[in-house]
Each structure stands twice: as structure tokens, then as C-alpha cells.
């Protein structure tokens, strides 16, 4: 049975996320694991606009929204101030950002936070484009996805560049903990949040959260798609402890990998892809999985 603490919702209902939003599921689990003794910063993005519609807030823990690029810097400042005042104790400092606020715009601040070795956990909620502003492409958008700034058409197959391996890049800063997780495996996600918070120094968690609005799938497919992404090998779940980025541990290995087609066919952002494109994506996923050793 779960303790009373775990039962307490730290992300209140009434937030304005779309029906079936993966971030809602992720945030409820993450904040429950972090507990009430936490301070958070949040970068501009879906999470910020949906949870802080003035004059209301869905947060039950102290939160600062700064700007798009500096969630990690503000979190560094909070950590440094608490340490200076001798009040750090068991307080968890979290910085949240979407994929835009982590992969692109917030990357410099994030890299600086890792380099200065602040005891902050950065959590990236990845829905693979700038969904809040209207589905613009990002360096997290996968190959072949149609977005409003990489539309598919006669001359284009949509996004033509691969997804940036952000968690491996974060891990390469020699930080004590870097991991990937997704909302289909809540226990795994909570375990990784716990490890990230307990790590002595900066930690990075890449959380994969499907978006019904931007990916154009049914609102009830959200969890299924997160699961399929792992089962097909599109998104690999792993963790690297103590800066051992060359010795990562795969935390969920599908027994038999499903074809990527099953994952792609459920989303309208991939609806224009021909068999040839799908084969190309399958080949890339196979190569990536071989790299990871399965």
C-alpha cells in the first residue's frame, strides 16, 4: 500500500492541458515521487501555460516561472541561495522544461547548470515539437513528422532531420545521473525520479510524453503510443549512473521488437509516409537498437 504522502496530488485538477495529455500523467507521478518538500522552476511551454492560468495555479509546491531559456539557471540560483543560508537540507530542487526549453532554447542554461554541478534535477517533458505555440518543429522532432513549420507535401516528407539524443548529450557532461523514461511505465518513471533526486549533483531525466493535439492521434491512445515507442525501439529506456555514459543500463528491453509501422500508423503526423519512408525509418531504428545492444 502506498504511503499517505504518495497519495497526495501535488498537481491539482482543473489544469488546462488537452484531454489525454501525456504531460498530465507524467507530472502527477513525478511530483508525487518528489513530495511536498520540493521547489520547482518551469520554462515557458505547455506545462507552464496550462498549469498557471492567472490568477490560478495547479501547483501545490513553490514554483517560479522565469523565461523560455533559463529554468535551469533559476533553479541553480535557488540551490545556491539555500546552500548559502544553510537551508538546503532535504529540499528537492527541480527544473522543468519541455523539449523546446531543453533541446533548443534552454540548452545553454542547462549545460551551465551541469557544469557548475548544482544539485538540481532537470526534467524534460518531450512531446517532440513546440506544441504550445502551434506545433512548430524542434530539434526533438523525429524524421518524417509533419509539423506546421515542416509540413509534408509534394516536395517534402516533413521534418528531414533526426531527433537529437539529448539524454546522451546531458550524460556526456559527466553528471551523476542521466536517464530516459516514459509515462507507459509509471513505476520505472518514479524509480528514476527518485534516483535523480537522490543523486549528489545535477541529474537529467528525459520523459517521453505523447501529445494528442500535435501528433494527431486519439486522446485515448496516449499511453498506448508511449508503450509502442518502447516496444518498437523508437524510444529506448536507459539510465547512466555516476557519469558512466559509455556504460548505460537498458532498463526496459522489449522481448521481441514490434515493427515501427505499428507506432507510425497510429499518428496522423506520419500519415503521408510511403512504404519506402517507413522502411528507411525502420532501418534507422534497427541501427540505433544495435548500438544499444538489442
Amino acid at each position: 500500500m502506498m504511503s499517505e504522502n504518495e497519495e497526495k496530488e501535488l498537481l491539482a485538477s482543473g489544469h488546462r492541458m488537452c484531454a489525454g495529455c501525456g504531460e498530465g500523467t507524467a507530472m502527477r507521478a513525478i511530483l508525487k515521487e518528489a513530495g511536498p518538500n520540493s521547489i520547482a522552476t518551469v520554462a515557458t511551454g505547455c506545462l507552464e501555460v496550462t498549469t498557471t492560468a492567472y490568477p490560478q495555479t495547479a501547483w501545490e509546491i513553490p514554483l517560479i516561472h522565469a523565461a523560455f531559456e533559463n529554468a535551469a539557471s533559476v533553479a541553480s540560483g535557488i540551490e545556491a541561495a539555500l546552500k548559502q543560508m544553510d537551508k538546503k537540507g532535504e529540499t528537492n530542487i527541480l527544473s522543468f522544461a519541455g523539449d523546446g526549453g531543453t533541446f533548443d532554447i534552454g540548452f545553454q542554461a542547462l549545460s551551465g547548470m551541469f557544469e557548475r554541478k548544482h544539485n538540481v534535477t532537470h526534467i524534460c517533458l518531450d512531446n517532440e515539437a513546440y506544441m504550445n505555440t502551434g506545433i512548430q518543429r524542434c530539434s526533438s522532432t523525429p524524421y518524417g513528422a509533419s509539423t506546421t513549420t515542416s509540413p509534408s507535401g509534394k516536395e517534402s516528407i516533413g521534418e528531414d532531420r533526426p531527433k537529437k539524443p539529448i539524454a546522451r548529450i546531458a550524460g556526456a557532461h559527466d553528471i551523476p545521473y542521466a536517464a530516459t523514461a516514459t509515462i507507459a511505465y509509471i513505476d520505472d518513471l518514479k524509480k528514476k525520479v527518485n534516483k535523480a533526486l537522490k543523486a549528489d549533483g545535477p541529474a537529467f531525466l528525459h520523459v517521453f510524453a505523447p501529445c494528442p493535439t500535435g501528433w494527431r492521434h486519439g486522446s485515448d491512445d496516449t499511453i498506448e503510443l508511449a508503450r509502442l515507442a518502447v516496444e518498437t525501439g523508437v524510444f529506448v529506456l536507459w539510465e547512466a549512473e555516476d557519469g558512466e555514459i559509455c556504460d548505460i543500463k537498458i532498463t526496459k528491453k522489449p522481448k521481441e521488437r514490434k515493427p515501427v509501422k505499428e507506432y507510425l500508423k497510429k499518428q496522423r503526423r506520419f500519415a503521408h509516409l510511403t512504404e519506402e519512408h517507413i522502411e528507411k525509418i525502420q532501418k534507422e531504428v534497427d541501427e540505433k537498437c544495435e548500438q544499444y545492444g538489442f
Binding site: 485538477s13 489544469h15 490568477p55 495547479a58
Partner: protein, 89 residues
């Protein structure tokens, strides 16, 4: 529109005040649970993005003030105890 008083630096002191806004009105489909079939695995509780599933002693119940009707609970229920029905106004 009621008047909103802006605080210094926009500081909001009322934690969890989003509960004042009922998102149940967004719903077109409404979940219903068969208490007899429920095995209390609480997958629906974990997966609900809106915290609209409440645990009860022998099963679960829905907080229809906040349920947006996404249907994740129906899809993820391992024993098919939850069914989505068209919302009647």
C-alpha cells in the same frame, strides 16, 4: 468578467487554486465503472492526466468535475471494467 487584482510580481499565494475551474465541461464522452469487475489495480488512477480518478474502498470512482473524457482509463483497464458513454446534457 470579474475583476482580477494583480499582485506584486504576479505572485500567486493560493496553491492548487486551479480546482476552482471545472474542466468537466470539456467532456463529450463520460466514463462509467462496473464496480463488480474492478480488480483495484489502479492503473486508471496512475494514468489519468487530470487526477479525476479517486480510489474508494472496493473500487474507484470518477470526479466528473474534472474528467475531460479522454478515454485513457477505458483503454488501459485490464479487465474492461470502464466503458465510455456519450455524455448527455
Amino acid at each position: 468578467m470579474s475583476k482580477v487584482k494583480i499582485t506584486i510580481a504576479g505572485i500567486n499565494k493560493k496553491a492548487g487554486s486551479s480546482k476552482e475551474y471545472k474542466t468537466g465541461g470539456w467532456r463529450t464522452m463520460k466514463p462509467e465503472v462496473d464496480v463488480e469487475k474492478c480488480i483495484q489495480c489502479f492503473k486508471c488512477f496512475d494514468y489519468c492526466p487530470d487526477g479525476a480518478v479517486k480510489k474508494t474502498e472496493d473500487a474507484i470512482e470518477f470526479d466528473l468535475d474534472y474528467c475531460k473524457g479522454c478515454g485513457i482509463c477505458e483503454r488501459e483497464c485490464p479487465v474492461k471494467a470502464i466503458v465510455m458513454k456519450v455524455e448527455e446534457k
